[in-house]
Structure formats: C-alpha cells, structure tokens
C-alpha cells in the first residue's frame, strides 16, 4: 500500500531508472566478474563458482575466498575473513534503511542486492531526489544480473585458457586494481601497507592461513587508534 502512495511513475519505470543510473558502474564491474569466475573455477566447479556469485554477491569477499582457496587456506579462516570484509555492509545497510523504509515487503530483496556500487549510486540519487526503494532495487538488479553473466563467462572461458597466458596472475592483478579503487587517503595507504607487512611477519607465528585476518585486525585497529590519539 505504501508503494501506491509513493508511486507517481509506474513500477517498472522506477526500477528502470535505478538500473539505468547503475549501468556505467555495472559495466566497470564486468572485468572483475570475469576474472573472479576464471580464478574461482580453478578450485571450484562452474556450478559452485556461480553459486557463490548468486548467493554471496559481494565481489571483494568472493575474490578473497577464491584467492585463499588457491593458497590452500582452511575453510574456517576463509569464512571468517569473508565475513570480516563484508562487515562494512552493516554500515551501508544502516545508512540505506531510511530510504527503503517505505516499502517493508521489498526489504529482504533490497538486503540481498546491497553492494558498494548500488549504495553509492542510490545515495547520490537520494541526495538530489526523493527516496525510492524501487530505484535501489533496480540498481541492485542491474548489478546482480551483470555480475552473474560476468562470473559465468569467466568460469566457462577461464577453463579454456591454456597455461602460458598469465591466468595465474589474474587474481594478483585484480587485487591491485581493487586496492587502487578502495584504499583512500594517506592513513588508508599506511594501514594497508602495515597489514601487508604484518601478514608476512605473522606467518611463522600465527597459523599461515589466519595471518591475513589477524594482520587486518591489528592494522585497522592501529589506524583507528592513531586517529583517536591525535
């Protein structure tokens, strides 16, 4: 009912507005999806690779999971590290809540479609125009469909790439891209460097599969403390 009160434009055109606004950024996600599919399919079946895209639908965590599987990490450490990366979704979910509150029935769907990209596009939109849960869902759906197609392409096509074409490097190159996109500010750079060095130093101390997670917690905590002590 609340939908009808709010709706001026028809259902599909509001969904489409969100999808259209997200298309440019969704296209920039395609190479990551293809690379994820190619990397993940080296240690999982095509079905499992796609299952992760369908159910987890969080690029960075999927990449880290694929990378840790390739490095032979334990499943528990992969799970904990993946959850740790996705903790930031709590913040975005809390921030988007007032904008989708008018459509309670859409909330379970909106939750699954929450990503950095849709969050950024929708918050920019709601800054300028009235909140619309359907805009957010349309944005999320566009990204969801493109992510599935890209992952599937990577999983199918990656297996066909013969050795010697540098596929072993797809993961490292993707991580480098993501670092440039996600690390912000001098403090962010220092925290990232500290985490990298710590993860290497900790390997003999902590079980090697946990070193990434322990190093991240220490580096992020130090970064937060440094700012609070200033």
């Amino acid at each position: 009912m609340d939908l009808e009160l709010q709706a001026q434009a028809p259902f599909t055109s509001r969904l489409w507005r969100g999808a259209r606004a997200t298309l440019p950024i969704a296209l920039s996600v395609v190479p990551f999806g293809v690379a994820y599919g190619a990397v993940a399919a080296q240690n999982m079946s095509v079905g499992q690779t796609l299952l992760m895209s369908l159910t987890v639908f969080a690029g960075t965590a999927q990449f880290i999971a694929a990378s840790m599987l390739a490095q032979g990490a334990s499943y528990v450490s992969i799970l904990v590290t993946g959850i740790l990366i996705n903790l930031r979704l709590v913040l975005m979910s809390a921030a988007i809540t007032p904008h989708v509150a008018s459509a309670p029935t859409l909330r379970p769907v909106a939750a699954q479609l929450l990503t950095d990209e849709s969050f950024a596009v929708s918050m920019a939109e709601f800054d300028q125009r009235p909140s619309d849960a359907l805009f957010f869902v349309g944005s999320g759906l566009a990204l969801y469909i493109i992510w599935q197609l890209a992952s599937l392409t990577g999983a199918l096509f990656g297996a066909g790439i013969p050795a010697g074409f540098g596929l072993e490097y797809a993961l490292s190159a993707s991580l480098i891209c993501l670092i440039f996109l996600l690390v912000r500010g001098r403090r962010g750079v220092i925290v990232a460097l500290a985490a990298a060095v710590l993860s290497l130093l900790l390997r003999p101390v902590v079980t090697s599969t946990w070193s990434t997670m322990v190093a991240t917690i220490i580096a992020a905590t130090l970064g937060t403390l440094v700012r609070r002590c200033r």
């Binding site: 988007i96 809540t97 909330r107 540098g166 490097y169 797809a170 670092i179 992020a220 937060t224 609070r228």
Partner: protein
Amino acid sequence: MSITLLILALALGTYTLRFLPLTVLSRANLPEWAHDWLSLVPGAVLAASLAQSLLIQDERLALSMDNAFLLAAVPTFLVAWRTRNVILTMLTGMTSYALLDHLIL
C-alpha cells in the same frame, strides 16, 4: 566441510550483515570509531592478501629477483596508478607475468 557448504555459510553470514540493520538495528547508531575501523578493513584485507599472493611461493617467503609474481607487480602497479583502468591493468599483469615466467626467468 565441503566447498558448497563454505559458500552457503558465507552467503548466510553476508545476508545477515545486509539484513540485520534493515530490521532490528535500524535505529542503532554505530560510534564514530567503529565507522572508521570498518572503513579501513577492506583495504587492509586486500593488501595483506596481495602480499601473500605475490611473496609467498610454495609456503615460503620469496623475496628474490626470480619471483615472477613479484616482478610482474611493478608494471601492473604502474598501469593501475597511471590509468585507473581495470581491463588495461589486468592485461598488463597477465602479459607481464606470462612473459617473465615463460620467456625470461
């Protein structure tokens, strides 16, 4: 635990993180330091994971000039920094690695 179970567990955990604030936590405000801490986490995980993928070969630290993973990171970083172009960066990384691994080292 099979890989399928791992995927489903990660999916369930991730969905909980996405859905909880939309329901029970909707009015809870996280303190400023928690925002700050969470904003630093993704970059730190990525950097730690990259360090592992470049510098750990066969379970040992490989800080030498014949580590093709490490050497290929140099052009890859330069292209990422200069162009901010995902496709170009990936191609540079994969090509550099293939050349270093098969032709030079």
